[in-house]
Symmetry: D2
Subunit: 346 residues, 4 copies
């Protein structure tokens, strides 16, 4: 059983079926097709507002394009040091923006601390032209440690951003998990809380490969269509991207898939937390469980065929990720095995 990452999960059957259905004859290219129109409508419905959507191949592309819209080449973007934007995109945002600076901040539970943000922005502004221009803030929702920002927390950061004419981006690679967990509407968690541009993720939660840049603040969309094209993310057979996103949003599928993942994570967390010598490191607010456990226990589980990552830089912190396809019986079997191994440890 693979608990390594939700990006190693399969595609949801509903999405593959939709793909199959979309393959009927010719369709206009580059998004001029009907499926793409429908998909856009679905986004507007889901987020209860007018908005623009640009499907892209990967989360790296979504994040990098978003940042290029918010930060000029001479700008700076602030994010948590754990953020993908800073630590996992191989400089994608720097590339797309033409050399903007990504400024990593510290903060508990992988969330940006408003005071830290304010101080970092103020320090940069004091330098005038000798430093980049504070231009954007980026939040990961859910965060890299499986926690989530509540609407109030987002609003507080949005207030700081707005006061400095900075844009606010959300990396929503796991947005579905956060929305499902918080029980608020997608709108409440994004534009109503001050988000200008969203990286909307579907791949980790059931799509084959479909992410999107969603622009709530239309003033921020200038030039995006051309950036999208020249970066190589304007698909000719766009319908096959669009149909994944359409099916994902249809009838709340995305939240149902997320619910399965979140429930599985809860079960993992509850079960592991009961074992001696095991500690759940952070609140499980999405579909990831970070757990401190004795390496012999981890090794035993791996030998039994369970896969999960040791957290980089640590010796006994492990990450387990659930997904829509994680079956309840698999979780139970895993926990039974863990209990058995744990009992056998000195």
């Amino acid at each position: 059983m693979n608990f390594r990452s939700d990006n190693e999960s399969p595609a949801a059957p509903e999405i593959l079926e939709a793909l199959q259905a979309a393959n009927a004859g010719h369709a206009y290219a580059y998004g001029e097709d009907e499926i793409t129109s429908r998909m856009k409508g679905r986004f507007r419905e889901t987020f209860e507002t007018d908005l623009e959507v640009f499907p892209v191949a990967t989360g790296t592309a979504a994040n990098s394009l978003s940042i290029a819209q918010l930060a000029p080449a001479y700008g700076a973007v602030f994010c948590h040091h754990e953020a993908h934007l800073h630590a996992d995109e191989c400089g994608g945002p720097e590339f797309y923006s033409g050399g903007a600076k990504v400024i990593p901040l510290s903060g508990d539970l992988a969330k940006i601390c408003p005071r830290t943000l304010q101080a970092a922005v103020a320090k940069m502004e004091e330098m005038g032209v000798h430093e980049s221009q504070p231009s954007a803030v980026s939040l990961s929702q859910a965060t890299e440690l499986g926690t989530v920002y509540k609407p109030d927390e987002i609003r507080e950061i949005a207030g700081i951003a707005r006061g400095r004419e900075m844009g606010l981006h959300m990396d929503g690679a796991r947005l579905a998990n956060a929305v499902q967990r918080l029980g608020c509407t997608p709108a409440e968690l994004t534009w109503k809380a001050g988000i200008d541009i969203l990286s909307f993720g579907a791949t980790k939660n059931g799509a084959m490969a479909a992410e999107a840049v969603v622009v709530f603040n239309r003033e921020r969309a200038m030039g995006l269509a051309r950036r999208h094209k020249r970066a190589g993310h304007l698909f000719s057979k766009m319908r096959f991207m669009s149909v994944q996103l359409e099916a994902y949003l249809k009838d709340g599928l995305w939240l149902q898939l997320a619910e399965r993942a979140n429930r599985a994570a809860d079960a993992l967390s509850a079960g592991l937390g009961r074992l001696g010598g095991v500690e759940i490191l952070y609140p499980v607010e999405a579909n990831e469980v970070f757990v401190k456990m004795p390496p012999p226990l981890a090794d035993g589980l791996k030998e039994a065929g369970y896969e999960f990552h040791l957290w980089p830089g640590s010796r006994d912190h492990y990450r387990l990720v659930a997904c829509f396809a994680t079956r309840v019986d698999a979780v139970n079997a895993f926990l039974a095995k863990a209990r058995q191994l744990s009992d056998g440890l000195p």
Copy 2:
């Protein structure tokens, strides 16, 4: 019936089936899966050499990444002025390379004239540091006018490139059509003729969305893995990209699909060429037919539901594109209609 572009065609059933089959459980992300290994092996077999393959979302990405590998930011790349690279990528190569110059050249039948190339390179070199460094040449195979470069023609250009330490790129968005038409091996048309990097296209010829950068000259691959990632083209669920390419190459499917498209283009060309006042503009060497016809004839066909493009900048030059899914009976019906309309014209 849609003769507008082969990028408006559906996906081949074989490819959708392979996708379905690939959706079994978890698989390692970012290309560490078995399907990707198999796909790479298939490329090496097909091209009869060791090589590196990087799947990407679009042809724009394949071309732009390829150019960034061959031309430094202070370099220049030479191509025909009709080439996608210059005229249809919204500056993708300039973006990926960090500002290399794309130098458009003239030449009959959308092919680079070796003498023109030599003169342009020499003129640039004469300028020393006041001009960019001649770094690469890019050929479109098939060309934007539906013609093809023969191996000897490629070799001649490769000779010029090599003499100046320039790299040679092939935009193979329609490579299958060219290989099928010329009856030579993929190797003969690429690395054996001097190609360093190939944009391998599958989308126009049956894939859902799958292109690849193929590097024959491994010295030219340095840094490509990271460029690929930061541009947002390293798919997490890579298996779904890889399986399209694998199925495409398996048992010669790509050439069978191309043959259908080429045959349909031949039939269109033969039928239209027989009509009065109609002129086939260029040799039909792939799956595209460029035809001069009286606008009333074109209008009549459009009214009858046939779709095709007026060539930009012209008043009576039209392009018809066939694809693997173009049925023989549809072509016959189209030609019958054309004959009927043509007979009725004054």
Copy 3:
């Protein structure tokens, strides 16, 4: 005697004296000094308007920064194919803009033809997102062939630019020569005719090394201060740049220097034009003379110690450039030698 280029001339004595005088004790860095304030005032007076000035080290920097202000990374800038911007900056504009496309246009006497411009812009717009966004036009004043745009000609091009929301740039590396020749005011030749940003050149006409980006349209100045800094053109000891520009503009020195250069060019042109087999190729409207002459005549002059360039790509077209330091007696001696040699030719 050197007629190769005005950029091989010395600095004017007035400018060196001003430099010496500026070297009194400490002064605030990065342009916070009094000389810089005075220099800015002098620019505002000279151009009779409020404006912003950013001194830079070279004309390449002035042009590249200007273009980066007018064209986004996904934009295109149109210029004559002889323009420095396209042919002599080693891709500087592409670098500074993050990969904008520079589109070379044809046109008589190295001037952009309005109709050609209009057609090129229209063709690009038709391509939508598949091509870059038409964003700027750049004029060289004087042109690379020593001709000048009259205010009406600039206004016509400005009209086209404005209709498409494109910015208008002037490469004024030899602006002084044009202003002096046309007898109009600097304002009439720039912002009053529709110029948004000017590359103001002083180096070729008496400065040691001082050029400036002058922004008339303040909306176009956003971010320029930071681009200027990060490109390495914000001098710490700015006063030494500023004082060159201040002295250059003071009491009309720049136009007096230009007048000497223009008069010398006139004398060269008049004298050479009288020789048999010699043809003045273009109107001499600044300080450059393009002349067709028998190579033996050119060779004889070179043997006699006169230096000038054969025009790239030609066999008997030569360029002679006069400057403020070209003495009347040197011109007379040159012409006497030319007459003597010409008389001796078969």
Copy 4:
């Protein structure tokens, strides 16, 4: 008296005289002149090795060009978080490199700690293509806190860099001060210790505006001439840049000027250190004194006409910078005033 920064100092008289002398008639442009040849020879002599020199307008340009030579767009460069490269160039290195990441490290006395460096590089390497490629390390000599790296310290860092095929850069904006202080040869402090590329500063220590990129490792010079040009730092009237550098190196002028600055800093440090409530914060190893003093004392000195900076982010840390033009009597007067004010404080 101005103790704010050595970049607010005047030019040394010897350098202005050399400029005056260089202004004799025409000279070939773009570095083809004799003065430039002589200047290059002087660099080779001074550093006792073959090398390449590219004069540039500012330290920002020298640093940014150097980094672009060492780090590809997908690379990362490590430096101390106080380094100009990271904190004062408005993203210049990111711009010139096309989006390389600058990774700030901690370390005492503004010097990179080898262990910290090693850990940061190892962590990045572990991420594979998900992170940038460790490509370069940059040292500031002297550092931003007025300390210096000894040859052994540089060698240790060079060893780490070399083991990972990373390049080693030195920001030598105050190299003269370090060389003078350490009493070693310029070679010992640079290439003999493992430096590949040096930003050679002259502006802070007597030049009007002259810095240079010095490449010791010729393999690292590829493409630099064109980068230099397209960034707008290839001066047409190069002789005026070159002559400043030539005069600066001639007869050891640069070290004599640095000695004056260092001695003045020593005197400041010694005098201030004797006052009650005043603390010298770091060893004075170049020409900068960082001092903690009661704000009323600082205020009194400022009222008396002495200028110096409060260190950003602090309430009672001040920086005083001496330069070649700081007179002994001015230092004495300043110290007398400080003593008088200090005695009067409660």
